[in-house]
Amino acid sequence: MTAPPSAAGAASSVSAASPDSSRSSPGSALAELVDITKTFGALVANDAISLSVLPGEVHALLGENGAGKSTLTRILYGLSQPDSGEIRVDGRVKRISSPADAMEAGIGMVTQEFSLVDTMTVTENLMLAGVGLGRINRAAARAKVLAAAERIGVSIDPDAIVEDLSVGQRQRVEIVKALFHDCRVLILDEPTAVLVPQDVEQLFDSIGRLTSAGMGVIFISHKLHEVTRIADRISILRRGRIVASRPAAGLEPRDIAALMVGAESVAAPVASAENETLADALATSIGLDPADLDGPSVSVGGSALPSAAIRDRSRATRATSPISEATALQITDVTLGNDGSRVLDAVTLSVRRGEILGIAGVSGNGQTELVNVLCGTLTADRGSVMVDQTEISGLDPAARIRAGFGRLTEDRKGSVIPGLSVGQNLVLEDLDRFRIGPFLNRGAVREHVQKLIERFDIRAQPGDPIRSLSGGNMQKVLLARAISRGPKALVASQPTRGLDIGACEYVYSQLRALRDEGAGVLLISEDLDELLGICDRIAVIFSGRIIGELPAADATPEALGLLMTGHDTGAADDSDAAVNA
């Protein structure tokens, strides 16, 4: 079937001849994708999609994980070739068979997965695009990096080796990289997924400046409140097709969410109704008016529907089972680095059974290192880590897993073996369970994998190579792997980065279920909405130190924001003491 639903058909051609377009120079799209189809085997990732960007416009692309957003934009940037369809730049058909062609045509892109050379410096990475064969002018490039960074308001050390940077810092380099070269169309594939609120503001500022200079931006995000703020036009993809394409003016996150899920989704309201009842019951039982719980959450970070909804629901289910006094994960005095530059400074945290403890903080303040120390891939200079009374700090990663430690690390790609299949990755950590002597019991593996794929709703076949999965599906695989073995303590670092609303909710529900079964969860995140929504307590890390800890019920984004920037407030100390008392 080739003809898209009529509404979508009309909507997707809106770009070329939209009568209600209020722009001064309509009709002359900077770049257009026309009838693009791309298949991977039997899977139709893009089904006759047409899309365009006008000068000065931010065109937001939305859709669930695996809808085909990245595939479409990668085609425009020449990273992937369509099966059929054409690309037009300034109205003329243009063959874009490589990123070099794309850059020459004035198209730049920040890809969803980082594409930086880890062993090179920031400057060298930025020089790569358009570098000739002869002498390179490092000093000039370095100055240009600093200028470009300043122009968009981020600070970057041009001489840092990329592999020494945190994930958040790398993302900033990516964004600077795209702006480093003059382009008229900029594609941003989930650029804000790793940014803290302040940096998102800065990014939006820079996008505003770029569009007012006539540039067109394609902006992919799962965060609806971002999209409604910044987009001029919104297109929604579902299963490889454009199902709606509208001017953004007047659209509320609520409306977009409705367009995204379409008519067929009825499960969500039921679930939330259920939770609301639960919420009321709970609130009454602890002597609170439910309205108080819901009140402040709505205004967080200027967001409206989705995250607030998640918060409401997760708040509602908080602490259904009483938090026990027994600790699931005890981190004591973990220190890394020497006196002058401590990466982790006497970090002490305890996660009790049946509790979710959040760690808030701007990325690069020691979170990555803490997770690595917990996982056993980095050795701390001092300190102990106990899982349910078992000291694990001397153990290797596999022994830690056996001791009941589970993890979801922020680097998804680094947590899977890209060349193996979905099924193989799923059982990688518990091969012992499927052994018959030295052999693998393939039947049992297949059965187990099939069960996990169903239970965790992974949209893939057991035999698919894991590297072909979309971010959301890959995260589901990791989640399935970590949770299915029933860990006593789970460390989840940025578990919802890059996931669509549905997938986020899914992750939350899994984490909550794990907590309700009596496990302790340590959730490291930069998303305050997420932390406030799901955690029982929130600690804040700054410069490798835990500088405050609040019960989530008392925490406000403002208080956390202050702590995250290093302001050790008295209030925080008080509540800290209150918690420990």
Binding site: R74, Y77, L79, S80, Q81, S98, P99, A100, A102, M103, M109, T111, F114, S115, L116, V117, D118, T119, M120, E124, N125, M127, L128, A129, G130, V131, G132, L133, G134, R135, I136, R138
Partner: protein, 299 residues
Amino acid sequence: MDFPVFAVLAAMLTIATPLVWAALGAVINERAGIMNLGIEGTMYAGAFCGFFAAATSGSAWFGLGAAVVAGVVAGALMALLTVTLGVNQHVAGIGITLLLVAACDFANRLLFSSGSQTITAKFDRLFAGGGIFSQYPLTYVAFLVLAPALWWVLRSSGFGLRLRAVGENPEAADAAGIPVARTRYAALILGGAMMAIGGSFLTLSLLGTFTIDIVSGRGWICIALVIFGRWKVWPVVGGALLFAVTDALQLQLAITSLFSGVPNELMIAFPYLVVIAALAIWGRGVRYPGSYLKPYRRA
């Protein structure tokens, strides 16, 4: 005992020359992400083609040109197999070595059936009688031109940057608009030419003739040297000198009465054992180029 230190040092520079040429060629290949096990065969082809062209034309320079052509062809063949066709690099490289060695031996038998007694035009040492400075032109070029130039290219030129990007993270290089396949072709062709020049040094400079098994594993030594030197120009040159000095010592000691009881084969094996020991000690925990051995295909 009066030990001939300067003779050993002079011999060291001469012995190291073909290793420096070939190992630096391998550095270029591997920095681009390709391990070229065709190195042994490429050196052999350079040695034979250089000899053949010099013998028929009477000009050593003509021989050198022929060696370069042989190296370019061998490098292009390796590129065709591994870059374009995505063949496993071990298989392609060993295949090329087997092919080239057999082809050269066969041609040698056909063309010089009388044996390997033909003496050709060859390069002479510069500064004859100048002690340690009395070396062949290619030795001077290797240490004074090639190594510094390559060091500069890898560090400070756009080509070097492209090469490293392609070898570390071809996806990122591709996204930056660098033609991955073309860069790898260039690396293999350039590296192949250097390997062949290294091989031709044996026939056109040292011996003036071609003998069966003339390269005798120098290519494999180079592969080890590159890992030992961690893909960096000067450490690789240092490794070549280390191998060469043990070889020179071994040659020197073999003629002193002190070692007359030691089997000659053991003496000859000595430098190879040193390289293995050096690799065992310093070759651990090395960090290979990010896309080492991996073919690149765009999704």
